[in-house]
């Protein structure tokens, strides 16, 4: 339970941390004519099957996957493995941990965050930032004091759009999480498998009410429907 919240928050924080500079770059430094095509490009992976987007990470994180082969090819896998305290040269096990789940979650929900953030940064008046810097603010300080407060609704919406689906995540932990990466969704499934229907229902209801609560509380920030591609 707590672990799900913790993993969800970590994944949400990383997703937003990655999406903010990206959206900032897209809205500020890319030619206006190119912005829309580049934005569509962000959504394209999202048009593919959710199962396959998780599955494709097995090719990357698996024992014979891209990361392992690459490190081996560089000749430094051995050192890393030894450094981690293993006696023999063995594949680096990157799967089956809560961290592999977080990586995949960030990948899955990055488009939500990028889209939502972009649409609010896009409406920002850049002259205000320049004015702040003329008055002596450093660029980072100007961004923090001028830009961030103005796009706060967008940030809230992005957090909600990323956090809610993560709460009910089932497949990513199932495929890349192992025992360590188990989340509420998998717990519900476990209950159901052992015919503990009352427990499964109770936990489902809990998650669903929490989500509805979040939606109601933040309904003002959530009018951005296009975040779901619809």
């Amino acid at each position: 339970m707590l672990k799900t919240l913790w993993m969800g928050l970590a994944a949400t924080a990383i997703t937003l941390g990655m999406a903010f500079p990206f959206s900032y770059w897209l809205a500020r430094y890319v030619r206006p004519g190119l912005q829309k095509p580049l934005l569509v490009l962000v959504i394209v992976p999202f048009w593919t099957s959710y199962l396959l987007r998780v599955y494709s990470w097995l090719n990357i994180l698996g024992d014979t996957g891209v990361v392992n082969s690459f490190l081996k090819w560089l000749g430094i896998r051995h050192q890393i493995v030894l450094w981690l305290g293993h006696a023999h040269d063995q594949p680096l096990s990157l799967l089956n941990s809560r961290w592999s789940v977080v990586v995949v979650l960030v990948y899955l929900y990055f488009p939500f965050a990028a889209l939502t953030l972009y649409s609010s940064i896009d409406r920002f008046d850049w002259d205000q930032l320049l004015a702040a810097m003329d008055l002596g603010a450093s660029p980072l300080r100007a961004v923090r004091k001028i830009l961030v407060p103005q796009i706060r609704p967008g940030i809230v919406a992005a957090v909600i759009f990323v956090f809610i689906p993560i709460l009910g995540e089932y497949l990513a932990p199932q495929i890349v999480g192992g025992v360590d990466g188990i989340m509420i969704g998998n717990q519900i499934d476990e209950f159901q498998k052992y015919a503990l229907y009352a427990r499964a229902s109770a936990l489902s209801l809990l998650v669903a009410s929490f989500i509805v609560l979040l939606l109601v509380l933040f309904r003002k920030s959530l009018s951005v429907k296009e975040a779901y591609g619809a």
């Binding site: 990655m18 500079p21 990206f22 770059w25 500020r28 430094y29 890319v30 490009l41 962000v42 394209v44 992976p45 048009w47 593919t48 099957s49 959710y50 199962l51 396959l52 987007r53 599955y55 494709s56 990470w57 097995l58 090719n59 990357i60 698996g62 014979t64 996957g65 891209v66 082969s69 690459f70 990948y107 990055f110 488009p111 990028a114 850049w126 320049l130 810097m133 660029p139 809610i164 689906p165 009910g168 995540e169 089932y170 497949l171 495929i175 969704g185 519900i188 499934d189 159901q192 499964a200 229902s201 489902s204 998650v207 669903a208 989500i211 939606l215 109601v216 309904r219 429907k225 619809a230």
Partner: protein, 294 residues
């Protein structure tokens, strides 16, 4: 913003360069998994991974020759067809009261209608499983999967059609009524042609979502396979290049279908406008599309 780059010399340019590099990195991050998947599906290496030992189409031959996959494809298409039909009919019908009935709490209804999109698939899947098994005592089968998927796809059609209805000029219907059209003819000759692009987009959306749906389906399809479910059961035995090939095919299909959902409806409108302008102006009265489309 060329203007500021000139004003704020080197540091600003460095920030810009850094962010551009970062932007490119993000695209690599987003596309690498997908590209690698497709790449590995042509790889001779039978572990479906690096190193790439040569190029081959063997895995694709295996995919097309596999009777289990053919069976899964048939189920996928059958389920997808029914889901599309059900969600288009229900979603379009539900869009009318949502937009036009003057409901007391429109926002509340809207949220309620979109809940199936926001509620995680695992909750829908398991609650339906318990509902079918414990409450209705029916066996899970493709039929129950069709019901479950429709629950999830209908809101997409609803939202698309409702958005189109919202921008609909009701004077057109009043005009048709003045000219003697009854309710059925108004719907058939005025309203449906105007909202058809949204319905078409909704249908494509519904089909693609159904084609890719895994979590809900997994719980309520019983012993049957759709393509995603077949892939999932294979993953348990490790990655094989054959699954990579099937995955690549499914991936490309859904990207194409989604692109169609975005390209086709506007193209359809354009084409119809083209036909109208060829027919000349007298047709305008019979083709109400002409009046509103700018």
């Amino acid at each position: 913003m060329a203007r500021e780059a000139g004003v704020l010399a080197p540091r600003a340019r460095a920030a810009r360069g850094l962010l551009t590099a970062y932007g490119l990195f993000i695209y690599v991050f987003l596309f690498a998994p997908i590209v690698l998947l497709v790449l590995f599906s042509f790889n001779k290496n039978q572990y479906g991974s690096f190193p790439i030992t040569g190029w081959t189409l063997t895995w694709y031959h295996q995919v097309f020759g596999d009777p289990v996959i053919q069976d899964a494809l048939r189920t996928t298409l059958k389920v997808g067809g029914w889901v599309t039909l059900i969600s288009v009919v229900l979603g379009t019908a539900a869009a009318f009261p949502l937009v036009r009935a003057g409901l007391k709490f429109p926002a509340g209804f809207r949220v309620a209608f979109t809940l199936p999109i926001m509620i995680p698939g695992i909750l829908i899947g398991i609650s339906l499983l318990i509902f079918f098994r414990q409450a209705l005592h029916v066996q899970t089968s493709p039929t129950t999967a069709i019901i479950g998927q429709s629950l999830y796809t209908t809101p997409f059609v609803l939202l698309l059609v409702a958005a189109r209805l919202q921008g609909f000029d009701r004077n057109l219907e009043r005009a048709a009524s003045d000219l003697g059209a009854n309710a059925f003819n108004r719907l058939r000759l005025v309203v449906l042609p105007l909202i058809f692009p949204a319905i078409l987009a909704g249908a494509l959306f519904a089909f693609t979502l159904s084609f890719d749906e895994f979590v809900i389906t997994y719980f309520i399809i019983g012993g049957y396979n759709t393509l995603p479910i077949f892939i999932y059961t294979q993953i348990k035995y490790g990655i094989t290049p054959e699954v990579n090939a099937l995955a690549a095919l499914v991936l490309v299909t859904s990207i194409l279908l989604f692109s169609l959902a975005f390209i086709l409806p506007p193209a359809f409108r354009l084409a119809r406008r083209g036909i109208r302008s060829m027919r000349g102006h007298r047709e305008v009265v019979r083709e109400p599309v002409a009046v509103t489309e700018h």
